[in-house]
């Protein structure tokens, strides 16, 4: 990227003699990801040992950039000014004579700055490495094969008998609480038979009474069918028709 070169060449001194279109300048300066990035750039550009930063020189160069940014009215993050203050502070502490008598060497005023620069540099390297990785949509593409005979049917829910009965228990509990209704008196077999008879009557129109009985079911089955018919009649769900005494009895859905 030519920007590096431009920076390297162009911004090593105050740019009196330099002409860069203001837009390009902004682009260059905006590329710094923050004050630490700018500082690292200055240090690397001049081959400075991070562990022995010449504070006066680095601070001066840093301020040149900050002044340029201000001059071109780049929206300057407050963080740049905070860093400027920090650099100035370190510089002034470096100027103070160190107490020679102290057995342990007093901490270098630059230590915290160095720690931050090195830490940030590690993450910059991590960032760069991440950026260089092959990525989906840039170097890698994923197959997108369409499927022949795809069915969009959604499987139907299954219900267990236990689910059904527990639903019913809830109804019964409510019923106990309110007690307006008795759900039923008849045994289930009669209820079921009522449904079957209604189905037949419904589809056949007139149905012969005797045809509803299956002799093979035995006495119990016959009783169930008979009770079912009586219940249907009682609930006015079917009509019984007999044209004359002893004539065949017919059943018909209530009209």
């Amino acid at each position: 990227m030519s920007a590096v070169l431009v920076r390297g060449e162009a911004w090593s001194k105050i740019p009196d003699d330099l002409y860069i279109p203001p837009d390009a300048l902004e682009v260059i300066l905006e590329e710094f990801a923050g004050p630490l990035d700018l500082l690292l750039y200055l240090i690397r550009r001049d081959n400075i040992d991070v562990l022995d930063i010449p504070m006066a020189e680095v601070t001066r160069q840093y301020m040149v950039y900050v002044e340029i940014m201000k001059a071109i009215k780049l929206e300057l993050a407050a963080d740049y000014l905070v860093m400027a203050a920090m650099l100035a502070e370190i510089k002034s502490r470096m100027l103070l004579p160190r107490p020679i008598s102290s057995p342990e060497e007093e901490a270098d005023p630059r230590a915290e700055l160095v720690r931050r620069l090195l830490e940030y540099e590690r993450y910059q390297a991590a960032c760069e490495n991440l950026d260089k990785r092959v990525r989906v949509g840039r170097e890698l593409f994923l197959p997108e094969i369409s499927m022949e005979a795809r069915s969009l049917e959604r499987p139907l829910p299954t219900v267990s008998l236990e689910d059904l009965l527990s639903a019913l228990r809830v109804v019964l509990q409510r019923e106990e609480a309110f007690a307006h209704h008795r759900i039923m008196r008849e045994p289930l077999s009669v209820r079921e038979r009522m449904t079957r008879i209604l189905e037949r009557i419904h589809s056949d129109g007139f149905t012969e009474f005797s045809g509803l009985f299956e002799i093979g079911e035995g006495k119990r089955g016959i009783v169930v069918t008979f009770l079912a018919i009586l219940e249907l009649v009682r609930e006015s769900l079917v009509m019984m028709v007999q044209n004359e005494p002893f004539a065949p009895i017919h059943l018909k859905a209530a009209a």
Partner: protein
């Protein structure tokens, strides 16, 4: 990179394009100076067609554009890949079904009287479309409401020989009364479940209505 053949590039493009590719589009993958002949592209496609024969893909030409797709024989497996988890029926649906089973032939009005809440037509539709209930007649009262009963499919699903296999109501009632204490609490959490299932259900409208029911049921249970 000189060992990458035209055929491999064409195949890669067909795999990732997500849509059929014309010969022109396939040609445009190559830089101008490396543009292959039309015949070269057709040869590449033919090679791909032959190479595919062993695997799950086939080359299809749709309106002068080519695409790779899975063979229809793979549908049974691949459909399982996309199978959504089955929805669950709300408590309102199950209660309605249980009442129809025990009280058949019965009308919506009777079910409502027992449940104490409205039974939405979506609930009835759900059960009808599942073929667990059907209309077995009409009741000769004003409005001529439909009478519903359970079906053979209902017996089959619940693995019942006949309705007589279901426990009698009096048996259930004893259990219900015994458990009333715990159940009252349990119902509360179940009602929450119901609502959760509704949100993932396929028929938003149906389930809105049911969620509403569940809400009402719950407040009644609490009251």
């Amino acid at each position: 990179m000189s060992d990458i053949r035209v055929r491999d590039i064409v195949q890669a493009a067909l795999l990732v394009a997500g849509e059929p590719l014309t010969l022109e589009r396939l040609g445009s993958l190559f830089a101008d100076e490396a543009q292959p002949e039309r015949a070269t592209l057709l040869d590449a496609l033919e090679e791909i067609r032959i190479a595919c024969a062993e695997g799950p893909l086939e080359l299809q030409c749709i309106d002068r554009a080519y695409r790779l797709q899975t063979r229809a024989e793979y549908a049974p497996w691949l459909n399982r890949l996309f199978a959504e988890r089955p929805a669950r029926y709300s408590r309102a649906v199950l209660e309605t079904l249980a009442i129809i089973a025990y009280r058949q032939p019965t009308t919506r009005g009777e079910i409502e009287a027992i449940r104490g809440v409205a039974v939405s037509s979506d609930i009835i539709k759900t059960l009808l479309s599942r073929e667990w209930i059907r209309q077995v007649g009409t009741k000769e009262v004003p409005g001529r409401p439909a009478l519903y009963g359970t079906t053979r499919a209902f017996l089959e699903h619940f693995n019942l020989t006949s309705l007589g296999d279901l426990p009698s109501l009096s048996e259930l009632r004893v259990v219900a009364v015994d458990q009333a204490g715990q159940a009252a609490e349990a119902h509360d959490t179940e009602a929450h479940d119901t609502e959760a299932h509704d949100t993932e259900a396929h028929d938003a409208e149906a389930h809105d209505a049911e969620a509403h029911d569940a809400e009402r049921d719950r407040s009644e249970a609490a009251g």
